[in-house]
C-alpha cells in the first residue's frame, strides 16, 4: 500500500496532478450549492423533543420570529410622546407593513394597537390606540395616558420611562430577517427624524451572523492562509519548499468543503470554521517531509530515491498523527448536536485527506522540480535555521529542561492544580447576540433596547390541561343517551362523539342535538336530547380549563414568581387581558383590576376582548378551546445562564406550589432552546473528550508498543487541555460553543507534537544509547520542527483577531494559547520527565540503563 502510493507519486507525477486537480475542480464546483444555516434551533436534531414542542407551541399560539425595532428619544420632555416621534413611529409602522414577508396581522406597534377605555360614565370605548399620527401635543400625551393603563403594552411597546417605543415585526421566515432588517434600516434613514433607531432581535442576530460569516469565510480564511505562507517562508527561506504544503492545504480545504456542501449539508457556524481548522493540520505533515527532504538531499543523489526514502520513513508517524487527530475530531460524533457532528466528521475526513494528499502531492512535486531548483531548495533551507535565535533558544531550553527536571515537574503539577481550580470556576454560558462585537450595531441595539424595555428575548412557559377521564366520562354518558334518540340523529351524534380531538367537539354535538330537538316529534328523543345538550354544555364549560378564575389566579402566582426571580423583565399572560377588560367594563377604576369571580364572567370578559380590531391577539395567549395557555416572558438578556436561572426559579416555585392535577408545564421559546442545546453540547463534549482521550491513548500505546510511552504521549495534550480550560475559568470567559470544540483541536494538535518528540527521542536513544546525547540532538532539528509548527499555527491565525465576529476571535486567540502551551509542554515538560524518569519510561531503548522486564518484552 505505502510503497505503491509512493511509486505512483514518483513515477506518474502528472497523473497525480491531474487526479488532484480534477478532484479540486469538481468539488469546487459543488460549492455553488452553498447554503448558510445560522438557526440555533438546528443545533438540535429535528426530532429532539424540546425542539418539537417549541415548534408545536409556535403553531399552537401562532407565534412568529420577530424583528424588534426601537425608537428612542432622549431629548424631548415627553420622551417619545411628542408629535414628531409618534409621526415617525406611525409612518415607519405603515411602511414596515408593506414589506414583503412581514406578517401583517401580528405586527405589534402603537400604530396598530387597540385601546379599551372609558368614554364618560357607563360608556366603554373600543378604539385604535393611534390610528393616525397625532397632530397636537395634547393628542400625543393622551396616547401616553392610555398606554399607561394597559399593562400588556407598557414596557413592551413603550418603555416605562417613556423614552422609547418598539415595533415587533413578525416575519414569515427566519431567512428573511437580514434583508427585512436592512429594509427597515433604510426606511428609518429616509424618515428624517431626530430620534434614534435600533434594529435587533434573535432572528436578525442569527441571520446577520450568517451574512457576516459568509464574508468572514471569504476574507479571514484566505488571510490566515497567506499569513501561514509568509511565516513558513520566513522560517524556511524557500518559496519552493513552502508552496507545496500550501497546495496540499488548499486542496484539502476545497475538497472537504466542496464535499460537505455537495452532500447537501448546510454551512453552519461550526462548519464555517472547517477551513480554519484544516489549514494548519494540513500544512504540518508536508512541512515535515519537505524539511527532512531538504536535510537529506545532495545534488549527487537521486531526488526520487531520497523522497521515497523520506516518505517511507515518515509514513508511520504521519499516519498515526493523522489518525489520532482524526479520532479527536471523530469523537465529536458522540455529541448529540448535528452541526458539531458534521463539523467533526468533515474535519476528520479532511485530516485523512491531507495525509493522503501529502504523500501523493509532495513526492510528485519534488520529482517535477528541475535539478537547479532542487539544489536551491537544499542549500536555502539548510543554512536557514541552524543558527537562528530560535535554534539557540531551543538548545538553551533543552539544557534547562534536563537540568531542572524535578523543579519543572513540580511547577507542572502546581500548574495542573491551578488549572483544575480554574476549571471549577468555568461559567457555562452562551448568547448568540454576544457573537457580535460590543460595537456592532446589533449589540448596541440590544443594549439600548434592553435598557429601556422589559426585554427583547422571548421564552414561553406553556401550561396544558387535559382531563381524559372527564372526556371519556362524557362520551360514555352521552352514548348511553343515544339509545333513546331516533335516527338519523343518533348516528350523526355517535359519529361526532368519536371526534374528541376536534376543536369543535362539544359545539358540533350541541348544534346537532339542538337541530334534532326542533325537528323531532318523539317525546323520548326530546328528553334525551335535552339531557345530552345539558351534559355537553357542562362538559364543554369544564373543558375550558383556562377560563376558570381559580386557574387564572394560579397563573398569576406563576407570573409573580417569575417576576420575583429577578431575571424576567416582564410576563404577559391571559390574566392580564382579563383584568384590564374587567376593569374597563366596571368603570375603569384600578380597584377593579382583578379577575371576575365566575367562569361565565371570565368568558364574557374575553368575548369583549375579542370585539376589538385584533381579536386574533387572544390566541397568542390561549388556544381557542382554552386547554392550553402560554405565559410570554420578556428577558433582558439572552444569556443561557439567565434563562437557566429562570427555569430554576420556576422549578422552585412549582416545588412549593405544585400545579393542579391534569396540568402539565413546559418551556418553549428561542432563549430556552438555546439552553437545551447548550446543555446537550456540554454533556456531549465531555463524553467526546473522554472517548477521544481513551482512543488516542490506545493508539499511542499501540504505536509505541508501550503503555508507559502511551501515557507519556498523553501528557502534553492533558496539560494543554487542563491549562486552556483552566485559563478560561480564571479569566472568566464563558464556556460557549467555540470554546467547547477547542478541546478536540487541542487533542489533535498536541498529540502530534508528542508523537514526533517521543518517536524521535526513541530513535535517537536507540542509535546513541545515551540520554545526554539524545537530549542534545532532540533540541536540534526535531525541536525546531515542533517549535516552528507551533509558531506558524499560532501566528498564522492572528488575522482572526480582526474578524467582526467573536467566535472567530475566540478561536484565533485560543489557537495561539493551545499552540504555545502544547509546544511548551512538549519541549519542556517531556524532557524534564525524561531527566528523572527516562530510564523507566524508555526502558530497553536506553543502552546503559537497566532494562525493565516489560520494556524488554515490548521492545
Amino acid at each position: 500500500m505505502k510503497n505503491s502510493i509512493i511509486r505512483l507519486a514518483t513515477e506518474k507525477p502528472r497523473v497525480v496532478y491531474a487526479i488532484v486537480l480534477s478532484l479540486v475542480l469538481v468539488t469546487a464546483a459543488l460549492m455553488i450549492r452553498l447554503e448558510i444555516d445560522t438557526d440555533p434551533e438546528n443545533m438540535l436534531p429535528p426530532d429532539q423533543s424540546d425542539r418539537v414542542f417549541h415548534n408545536q407551541v409556535e403553531d399552537r399560539f401562532v407565534l412568529h420570529d420577530a424583528i424588534v425595532v426601537g425608537i428612542v428619544n432622549r431629548n424631548h420632555d415627553e420622551g417619545i410622546f411628542n408629535v414628531d416621534t409618534l409621526t415617525s413611529l406611525h409612518a415607519l409602522s405603515e411602511s414596515i407593513l408593506n414589506i414583503e414577508g412581514v406578517i401583517e396581522p401580528d405586527l405589534m406597534s402603537l400604530a396598530v394597537a387597540d385601546n379599551i377605555g372609558q368614554e364618560g360614565p357607563g360608556t366603554i370605548r373600543f378604539e385604535w390606540m393611534m390610528r393616525d399620527a397625532p397632530t397636537t401635543a395634547a393628542q400625543a400625551e393622551s396616547i401616553r395616558d392610555k398606554v399607561s393603563r394597559l399593562p400588556l403594552l407598557k414596557d413592551t411597546l413603550v418603555s416605562g420611562d417613556g423614552r422609547a417605543a418598539a415595533i415587533y415585526v413578525p416575519i414569515e421566515s427566519k431567512d428573511l430577517s437580514y434583508p427585512i432588517s436592512q429594509e427597515i434600516l433604510a426606511l428609518t434613514e429616509s424618515l428624517q427624524s431626530n430620534d434614534e433607531f435600533h434594529v435587533t432581535g434573535l432572528p436578525v442576530a442569527e441571520d446577520t451572523f450568517g451574512h457576516d460569516m459568509f464574508v468572514q469565510m471569504g476574507i479571514s480564511a484566505p488571510l490566515a492562509g497567506l499569513m501561514i505562507f509568509l511565516l513558513m517562508l520566513y522560517f524556511f527561506r524557500s518559496a519552493l519548499l513552502v508552496i507545496a504544503p500550501m497546495l496540499v492545504a488548499m486542496a484539502t480545504v476545497i475538497v472537504s468543503m466542496g464535499l460537505l456542501i455537495g452532500f447537501g449539508f448546510t454551512v453552519h457556524i461550526m462548519s464555517s470554521m472547517i477551513p480554519i481548522f484544516l489549514m494548519p493540520i494540513a500544512v504540518v505533515d508536508s512541512v515535515h517531509i519537505m524539511s527532512e527532504f531538504a536535510d537529506r538531499y545532495r545534488p549527487d543523489k537521486d531526488a526520487k530515491a531520497v523522497i521515497s526514502e523520506v516518505v517511507g520513513h515518515l509514513y508511520t508517524p504521519m499516519l498515526f498523527t493523522s489518525l489520532t487527530s482524526a479520532v479527536g475530531f471523530l469523537s465529536l460524533l458522540l455529541t448529540p448536536i448535528p452541526p458539531v457532528q458534521i463539523f467533526g466528521a468533515f474535519v476528520a475526513f479532511g485530516i485523512l485527506l491531507a495525509f493522503l494528499l501529502t504523500i501523493l502531492l509532495i513526492p510528485a512535486y519534488i520529482v517535477r522540480l528541475s535539478p537547479g531548483a532542487l539544489e536551491r531548495l537544499a542549500s536555502e533551507s539548510k543554512t536557514a535555521h541552524t543558527e537562528t535565535p530560535l535554534a539557540r533558544m531551543l538548545r538553551r531550553l533543552g539544557r534547562f529542561s534536563m537540568r531542572r527536571g524535578k523543579l519543572i515537574t513540580g511547577v507542572a503539577v502546581l500548574f495542573i492544580a491551578v488549572s483544575i481550580a480554574g476549571i471549577s470556576r468555568i461559567e457555562i454560558n452562551d448568547n448568540p447576540v454576544r457573537w457580535f462585537k460590543a460595537s456592532h450595531p446589533i449589540r448596541v441595539a440590544d443594549t439600548v433596547l434592553n435598557e429601556h424595555f422589559a426585554g427583547t428575548y422571548d421564552a414561553f412557559f406553556v401550561l396544558t390541561h387535559s382531563d381524559t377521564k372527564a372526556t371519556e366520562g362524557f362520551i360514555s354518558e352521552a352514548q348511553a343517551l343515544l339509545a333513546d334518540i331516533e335516527e338519523p340523529y343518533a348516528s350523526t351524534l355517535a359519529e361526532q362523539l368519536g371526534n374528541s380531538s376536534d376543536s369543535d367537539f362539544y359545539g358540533a354535538i350541541i348544534a346537532t342535538a339542538d337541530d334534532a330537538l326542533f325537528e323531532t316529534g318523539d317525546d323520548n328523543s326530546m328528553a334525551a336530547l335535552e339531557s345530552l345538550i345539558a351534559l355537553a354544555e357542562d362538559a364543554q364549560s369544564a373543558s375550558r380549563y383556562f377560563q376558570r378564575p381559580d386557574v387564572l389566579a394560579e397563573i398569576e402566582g406563576i407570573q409573580a414568581a417569575l417576576d420575583a426571580s429577578g431575571y424576567v423583565g416582564k410576563t404577559n399572560a391571559l390574566p392580564d387581558v382579563v383584568k384590564v377588560v374587567n376593569r374597563e367594563l366596571r368603570g375603569g377604576d384600578e380597584a377593579h383590576y382583578d379577575i371576575p369571580g365566575s367562569v361565565p364572567a371570565v368568558a364574557q370578559t374575553l368575548l369583549q376582548y375579542q370585539s376589538s380590531h385584533r381579536p386574533q391577539d387572544l390566541w397568542h395567549m390561549v388556544t381557542p378551546d382554552y386547554t392550553s395557555t402560554a405565559i410570554w416572558l420578556q428577558l433582558k438578556s439572552g444569556d443561557n445562564q439567565d434563562m437557566s436561572n429562570v427555569i430554576a426559579a420556576m422549578d422552585d416555585h412549582l416545588a412549593k406550589h405544585p400545579l393542579p392535577a391534569g396540568v402539565e408545564a413546559r418551556w418553549a421559546g428561542k432563549t430556552f432552546i438555546n439552553v437545551v442545546w447548550q446543555d446537550a453540547m456540554v454533556k456531549g463534549m465531555l463524553i467526546s473528550l473522554v472517548g477521544a482521550f481513551g482512543a488516542v491513548f490506545l493508539m499511542m500505546t499501540l504505536l509505541f508498543r508501550s503503555v508507559r510511552l502511551g501515557l507519556l504521549a498523553m501528557v502534553p495534550l492533558s496539560v494543554t487541555i487542563l491549562g486552556v480550560y483552566g485559563l478560561i475559568g480564571w479569566i472568566g470567559k464563558d464556556y460557549d460553543m467555540p470554546i467547547a470544540v477547542l478541546s478536540s483541536l487541542t487533542l489533535g494538535l498536541s498529540v502530534d507534537f508528542a508523537i514526533h518528540f517521543i518517536e524521535r527521542t526513541r530513535a535517537l536513544l536507540r542509535s546513541t544509547g545515551s540520554f545526554e546525547t539524545t537530549s542534545q540532538q532532540i533540541f536540534e532539528e526535531p525541536a525546531r520542527a515542533i517549535a516552528r509548527n507551533a509558531i506558524v499555527i499560532a501566528i498564522g491565525f492572528t488575522p482572526l483577531f480582526f474578524a467582526p465576529l467573536v467566535p472567530y476571535i475566540t478561536v484565533g486567540a485560543f489557537m495561539a494559547a493551545i499552540m504555545a502551551l502544547s509546544g511548551a509542554t512538549t519541549l519542556v515538560l517531556l524532557p524534564a520527565l525524561l531527566s528523572w524518569a527516562g530510564g523507566w519510561l524508555f526502558g530497553g531503548d536506553v543502552g546503559r540503563s537497566a532494562p525493565s522486564p516489560d520494556a524488554a518484552a515490548t521492545a
Partner: protein
C-alpha cells in the same frame, strides 16, 4: 342585520323591471333595502362558525330581532346569545340612526353589568368573528361614494370609496349586486396597498315570506387566513315587534316570547 343576512327584501314588482338600472346611488339604495329592511321587522337565529387559519373553530349562536323605525331609515336590533353556554344571555342592543351616531348597549349576565358602548368605531370584530359590528347593522350608503363599474347578465358591479378614509380600514370595496334580488352576492375589500384582504360572499339565498333572504354567508380574511361561516335559520318577518322590545329593559330580561322558536 348582517350585511345581506336576514332581511333581503324584494317587492315582486321589482321582477317586472326589465331595463338596466344605471344610477349607482339608486342601485345601492335598493341593495340596502333588500339586505337590511325586509318586512317591517324580523327575527332570525344565527349560527356562527369562526375558524382560524389552522381550522380551529369557535361557535356562537344567537337570535336577532329587528324592527324598522322607518323604511330605509332608523332601525332597532336586539341580539341575544344562546351558545356557548358560558356567554348565554349576553345581549346587544342597537338603535341605528341615519342622522347621528348609533346608540349601542351591552349586557353581560356573568358580571350583571349593563354598559353603553361608544359609537366610535364600528369596524371592530363582532364577538371574535370575521364579521364587524357594522356588518350587523349595515353601513350607511351615504358614507361612501358609489360608482357602477359594470353591468353583467347577473350583477351590477359597483365600486365604493369611503368619504372619510380615516374612519375605516379599507381603501375601497367592490360589490356584486344581484340584478333581480338586489342582494349583494359578493363584496371585496381592498386595503391602501390595493390588496384584497377581506371578502364577504353569500352562499345561499332562500325565499322566505316572499323576501329573498340570505341563509348562508361567509367572510374570509385573505391576509391572516381564517373565515367565519354564518347560517340563518328560523327566519320570519312582520312579527309585529313593538318598540318596547328594544329598550334597555330587554337587556336584563330579554323578550322570551320572541326569542323562542315558533313551531311553524
Amino acid at each position: 342585520m348582517f350585511r345581506a343576512i336576514i332581511l333581503a327584501t324584494l317587492l315582486t314588482a321589482a321582477h317586472a323591471i326589465a331595463s338596466d338600472m344605471t344610477d349607482a346611488d339608486a342601485i345601492v339604495e335598493r341593495a340596502n333595502l333588500a339586505s337590511y329592511y325586509a318586512g317591517a321587522d324580523g327575527r332570525s337565529e344565527v349560527r356562527m362558525l369562526i375558524a382560524d387559519a389552522q381550522g380551529r373553530k369557535q361557535r356562537r349562536q344567537f337570535t336577532v330581532l329587528r324592527r324598522d323605525v322607518e323604511e330605509g331609515g332608523g332601525q332597532q336590533f336586539l341580539v341575544v346569545f344562546s351558545q356557548p353556554s358560558d356567554v348565554r344571555n349576553t345581549v346587544f342592543l342597537v338603535h341605528k340612526h341615519l342622522d347621528r351616531d348609533d346608540d349601542r348597549w351591552l349586557y353581560l349576565p356573568g358580571l350583571d353589568l349593563v354598559k353603553r358602548i361608544s359609537a366610535g368605531d364600528k369596524r371592530t370584530s363582532f364577538v371574535g368573528a370575521h364579521y364587524f359590528y357594522e356588518d350587523v347593522s349595515g353601513r350607511r350608503p351615504s358614507d361612501d361614494t358609489h360608482e357602477l363599474m359594470e353591468t353583467t347578465d347577473e350583477y351590477y358591479v359597483l365600486k365604493h370609496v369611503p368619504l372619510d378614509a380615516s374612519s375605516v380600514e379599507f381603501a375601497s370595496y367592490t360589490t356584486w349586486i344581484h340584478r333581480e334580488t338586489f342582494i349583494p352576492m359578493k363584496i371585496e375589500y381592498l386595503n391602501d396597498a390595493g390588496k384584497l384582504y377581506r371578502s364577504v360572499e353569500v352562499l345561499k339565498v332562500e325565499d322566505i315570506d316572499g323576501h329573498a333572504t340570505v341563509t348562508r354567508s361567509r367572510v374570509s380574511d385573505h391576509i391572516g387566513g381564517g373565515q367565519t361561516d354564518m347560517q340563518f335559520r328560523f327566519i320570519s318577518y312582520d312579527l309585529g315587534l313593538s318598540d318596547d322590545v328594544f329598550t334597555e329593559r330587554s337587556l336584563r330580561s330579554p323578550p322570551r316570547n320572541w326569542l323562542e322558536r315558533s313551531s311553524e
